[in-house]
């Protein structure tokens, strides 16, 4: 089954998504990979407030991605932006999505120990290696935080249109295509 989801999305809108369904996303998403996860996790443990821009990402989607970015006339442009391997974020992801109040993860390869049921989170798989076509669906770089981590490790706030096909690989009931 094919679904269009506008972000931010209510948790209730995600309940009907089942493994194997195809999803296209519209709206706001953020990227975060290894170093951003580590920093968010440290902020949570040290009870340090995140930058204000993180207040706006509730109910959006977190994309495991380290894009290629080019600055053209003072504006950032996404050149290529496929997913990175999600499993590397296993140890901290439950804490992070709970803290950020995010219920959609996008990545590749799936995640272990993800608490789908309690955190009401779905995991969407985007085919790895397809970074060139992904850049066409990312319409705007809205904001960036933590560029000191390097441009591929920074947190990019993006606006996407018809971002997909994303395959529901782990659903809220805990079903998984990887099992």
């Amino acid at each position: 089954m094919r679904h269009n989801i506008n972000l931010p999305a209510k948790v209730e809108d995600l309940l009907s998504l089942k493994i194997g369904d195809i999803v296209y996303l519209n709206g706001s998403i953020i990227t975060a990979r290894d170093l951003a996860h580590k920093r968010i996790s440290n902020y949570i443990h040290e009870k340090k407030p995140l930058p204000n821009s993180f207040n706006k990402i509730k109910n959006t989607a977190l994309y495991h991605c380290g894009p290629i970015i080019k600055k053209i006339n003072e504006k950032y442009k996404i050149i290529s932006a496929g997913p990175t391997t999600s499993e590397r974020m296993n140890s901290v992801e439950n804490d992070i999505i709970k803290f950020l109040d995010i219920h959609i993860l996008i990545g590749k390869g799936g995640m272990k120990n993800l608490d789908e049921k309690n955190l009401k989170v779905i995991y969407l798989s985007y085919p790895g290696g397809c970074g060139a076509v992904a850049s066409r669906m990312i319409k705007e770089v809205v904001h960036v935080e933590w560029l000191d981590l390097g441009s591929s490790e920074a947190v990019w706030f993006l606006r996407v249109e018809q971002f997909g096909p994303l395959i529901v690989a782990q659903d809220i009931s805990g079903n998984s295509l990887y099992k």
């Binding site: 170093l35 894009p67 080019k70 391997t85 499993e87 799936g110 290696g129 397809c130 295509l177």
Partner: protein
């Protein structure tokens, strides 16, 4: 500097620039053909959805010269230097300069991070020449006056699954295909399957890994010239395709595109097996020139 050497250096620089761009934006024909054929054969809907996007990405990347995958990898340079090719001792300088420029121009993602400070050089080259970053391997070819350079961008997802097994000679030959099967099963969708596997059998610990990576340079479907090695390649490939890992680990008939094994003599006490895993988006580019700087081939 000798005028002739200077001209050759310029020629090599220009060809390297072109080849790096080609390597990251264009999928070689053998892989493209494999996926076109797979799209006709694969009947599962999830696989078909992914295959359509993969084929579209191959076409779009080539047409608009955009890196197919945002992970433009670590650029591995394999240089085959004819012993009668005019002496060029500055490969490191040429490659470092070209890689820095390509990082800005194409652009490439910078994948050179200091393991202690986590600082990214943002240039794709190391701070210390002694660290061989990006990695350059030079092989001297006897009775040749040509220069051939192969560029293999190697992404992190597949590389992370790579492994060295130091087995016992008593049962190493029987065990290693099973160890590989277990490794790939555990890896699931992580290395962006369907994968290509490079295996280095024998040598010592470091040499088996070097051989395994070199094995990836062989085109898809080309078997090792030794019959017994060729049979092992097919046996392992078939066993991996029983795993039902499929495209990106979401299930399907094909988990492994091909297995390439290279062999070397081992110590009587050791049975080293180097395994390098490569993603489906197996990018590679190469060229060859003669001592006059004339192009022999470009691929």
């Amino acid at each position: 500097m000798d005028k002739k050497i200077e001209i050759l250096g310029k020629k090599i620089t220009d060809l390297l620039k072109k080849s790096i761009k080609k390597a990251v934006t264009t999928i070689p024909e053998d892989i493209f053909d494999f996926f076109k054929k797979l799209y006709k054969e694969e009947d599962n809907e999830i696989s078909q959805t992914q295959l359509r996007l993969i084929l579209e990405n191959f076409q779009y990347g080539k047409k608009d010269e955009i890196p197919l995958c945002q992970d433009t990898g670590i650029l591995n340079f394999y240089i085959k230097l004819g012993n009668r090719f005019p002496i060029i001792s500055s490969f490191r300088n040429i490659i470092d300069k070209v890689v820095q420029e390509a990082t800005i121009d194409i652009p490439l993602r910078s994948n050179s991070v200091d393991p202690i400070t986590n600082k990214n050089t943002e240039t794709n080259i190391g701070l210390n020449i002694g660290l061989n970053s990006p990695p350059i391997s030079i092989e001297i070819i006897d009775n040749s006056s040509d220069l051939e350079i192969i560029i293999l961008p190697k992404g992190g997802g597949a590389e992370n699954v790579s492994k060295l097994f130091m087995l016992d000679p008593i049962d190493g030959l029987e065990r290693f295909p099973l160890m590989i099967k277990e490794l790939i099963q555990k890896a699931g969708g992580k290395p962006c399957p369907p994968i290509i596997l490079g295996v280095g059998l024998g040598g010592d610990a470091s040499n088996s890994m070097i051989l395994a990576k070199k094995a990836l340079l062989r085109p898809i479907g080309v078997r090792h010239e030794r019959q017994d090695v060729a049979e092992l390649e097919l046996k392992i490939k078939n066993s991996l395709n029983e795993l039902n890992i499929g495209i990106m680990g979401l299930g399907g008939k094909v988990t492994c595109i091909d297995v390439h094994i290279e062999v070397s003599m081992r110590h009587p006490a050791s049975f080293p097996v180097g395994v390098i895993v490569q993603c489906y988006c197996h990018r590679i580019a190469s060229f060859k020139i003669n001592k006059e700087g004339e192009l022999i081939y470009e691929a």
